[in-house]
């Protein structure tokens, strides 16, 4: 019987040859990821209470990213507890302050096609860019998983989204997701979205990760993209072992999708989501001129190396307007390292960017860069719910790194294509 990729993964994980959408099944987990917010802080006492041990340290990855670097004693205590737990329980796949969990996982080649993976964070669907099932869970679920190695799930329906065409100038995967939040809505709970089509085939792995990352904003259990040679090359280049037959993890040709949506992207313009929902989106032109107090490039969604490249393309030879400020929190230590090596960071610094440490930071209203009452932010992050990035009376607009950088140059929301159309004041990129 024909199945979608996610059905096949769940069937394998639950020891069956076929599963039907709607069935409740118990799955053996291939990988559990937790961060400082969903990790030992929450489990340590539970494990003690249950007199239980960690099930399999080879299948657990622990990453600190939410409370880093600690700006107060509470955060410092959470991080200390996390480190102490990792040491005491032999959790050797522990990445402390090295970046945002969803970006760090593929940097170490952890994710492989066909895996049933679980993450203690809502943006865990990001992992689906590597052809695995990866859904988000709260910390009690995660605590149970690290003890038992299994969990229940209701087999989800799959929505297929075919993306065709190519990007117009200054358009990125982020713009596609703001379009999809508007077109498909954010209430796709207990469903998964599978992306395919010519555009997805052409996309880099990092841009594919934006599609699966913001499957969370569609309300989907996960986003998933069938692996191709590019996927396998990426995994191998990052130290993961994967066989060529991993490419066989695909949906059957006549798989039973709940719905199939086709979007031709060539005519898509840069998108902006206005407060207070990612689905409140439209062309940037609708918001050009809006006052912006802070521009923010950060988070699992919008601060990977390619995101910084987009920003640098706009900022090269230009300056952040004195009318605003541009904060950049690279998504991982590796991102920063590469951005130094290829000159990207130099361009950002010369443009007047304020560099922040790597971590979830202001995206979750936690770290450096939170907003005051009445402030307005233009952000490359994933959510702009009321109060998301600080005070409940602050506003957040969402856009791609191109649009955030263009806005920083203009001091108001700007169309990146128009910024690029004006010759930079310092074409060599050097400001004396």
């Amino acid at each position: 019987m024909a199945q979608t990729l996610v059905q096949k993964i769940i069937a394998r994980a639950s020891g069956q040859s076929h599963v039907a959408p709607g069935a409740m099944v118990s799955c053996k987990i291939d990988l559990v990821m937790a961060h400082d917010g969903s990790g030992p802080q929450r489990w340590a006492s539970q494990l003690k209470e249950l007199n239980a041990e960690v099930w399999d340290t080879s299948k657990i990855v622990l990453i600190t990213d939410h409370y880093v670097p600690p700006a107060d004693q509470e955060s410092a205590a959470i991080l200390k507890l996390t480190r102490d737990f990792a040491k005491a329980h032999g959790i050797y796949q522990f990445h402390d302050m090295q970046g945002i969990c969803h970006v760090v996982l593929p940097e170490y080649g952890y994710l492989k096609p066909g895996m049933f993976a679980c993450g203690g964070d809502s943006h865990s669907p990001t992992g689906g860019a590597f052809g695995c099932y990866m859904a988000g869970y709260g910390w009690t679920d995660i605590a149970a998983m690290v003890i038992t190695g299994d969990t229940w799930t209701i087999v989800p329906e799959t929505i297929r989204v075919n993306l065709s065409g190519g990007f117009a100038d200054c358009v990125a995967a982020k713009d596609v997701m703001l379009l999809l939040c508007r077109e498909l809505g954010m209430d796709n709970s207990f469903k998964v979205v599978e992306y395919g089509g010519g555009l997805v085939a052409d996309l880099s792995v990092q841009e594919r990760m934006v599609l699966t990352n913001m499957a969370a904003e569609l309300g989907c259990e996960t986003g998933i993209i069938e692996a191709d040679q590019k996927t396998l090359d990426h995994i191998r280049a990052h130290g993961g072992h994967v066989d060529d037959d991993a490419l066989e993890w695909r949906s059957d040709r006549d798989a039973p999708y709940e719905a199939v949506h086709d979007f031709h992207i060539s005519t898509l313009e840069p998108q902006v989501a206005a407060p207070h929902s990612p689905s409140n989106s439209g062309p940037v032109s609708a918001h050009v001129g809006q006052r912006i107090d802070q521009c923010y490039i950060g988070a699992c969604t919008g601060a990977k190396l390619e995101d910084l490249h987009m920003a640098a393309r706009i900022l090269k030879g230009r300056q952040v307007s004195p009318e605003t400020r541009l904060l950049v929190a690279p998504a991982s230590a590796l991102t920063t390292k590469h951005a130094v090596a290829d000159g990207t960071l130099q361009i950002l610094l010369e443009a007047g960017v304020v560099m922040l440490p790597t971590g979830c930071g202001a995206c979750a209203g936690l770290g450096a860069g939170v907003l005051a009452a009445g402030e307005v932010c233009m952000s490359s992050t994933n959510r702009n719910f009321k109060g998301r990035m600080g005070h409940k009376d602050s506003d957040v607009y969402l856009g791609s790194p191109y649009t955030v950088a263009a806005t920083a140059v203009a001091g108001r929301i700007a169309d990146p294509r128009e910024i690029l159309a004006d010759a930079p004041a310092h074409p060599q990129g050097a400001v004396s």
């Binding site: 709260g138 910390w139 009690t140 209430d187 709970s189 959510r383 109060g387």
Partner: protein, 160 residues
């Protein structure tokens, strides 16, 4: 279980239920900030046994368990919504807070007296006298709730 209804609309997200700046705090200290950006009277007004009613996609957003945790801490005993975000739904069950899909949420008015039986799938608006049949919580999830949440449930499983 009977209680007064607190009724809200669609897409009540986790940033509203559990603001980011409160996440480091113990749940007892976070709970008074629940929904402060939407209804400053909510957290202070809830009484033990009250019932939370929402529209579509309740709890969208983060995986933070403080969202149903804050409702539970304030005294909410059951959550009814037209639809739930998946992680919020699981988190509620895992904390022992019954969550029922309720298509007629829009027929409930703030302050209505409600009577809810999650096992039977019965929702009654005592104020209007109208009674609704909803899907009961699946037995294996109800077992988690009846044990007092996933950890207590697991303790039983490990002991047996």
């Amino acid at each position: 279980m009977t209680g007064r209804a607190w009724v809200y609309g669609d897409e009540i997200n986790t940033d509203l239920l559990a603001p980011g700046y409160c996440l480091r705090l113990p749940i007892e200290e976070l709970a008074p900030h629940c929904l402060e950006a939407l209804d400053p009277d909510f957290a202070g007004g809830v009484r033990q046994g009250d019932i939370f009613v929402a529209g579509d996609n309740l709890g969208l957003g983060s995986a933070r368990e403080h969202a149903p945790g804050a409702l539970l801490t304030l005294g909410i005993k059951v959550v009814l919504a037209k639809s739930f975000a998946r992680i919020f739904y699981r988190n509620a069950i895992n904390l022992g807070l019954p969550a029922l899909f309720f298509a007629h949420a829009h027929e409930i008015t703030m302050g209505d007296e409600m009577d809810v039986d999650p096992v039977a799938g019965m929702v009654r608006n005592v104020t209007t006298g109208k009674q609704y049949q909803v899907n009961s919580i699946p037995p294996h999830l109800m077992a988690i709730i009846e044990d007092g949440g996933l950890m207590a449930h697991l303790k039983k499983r490990l002991a047996s």
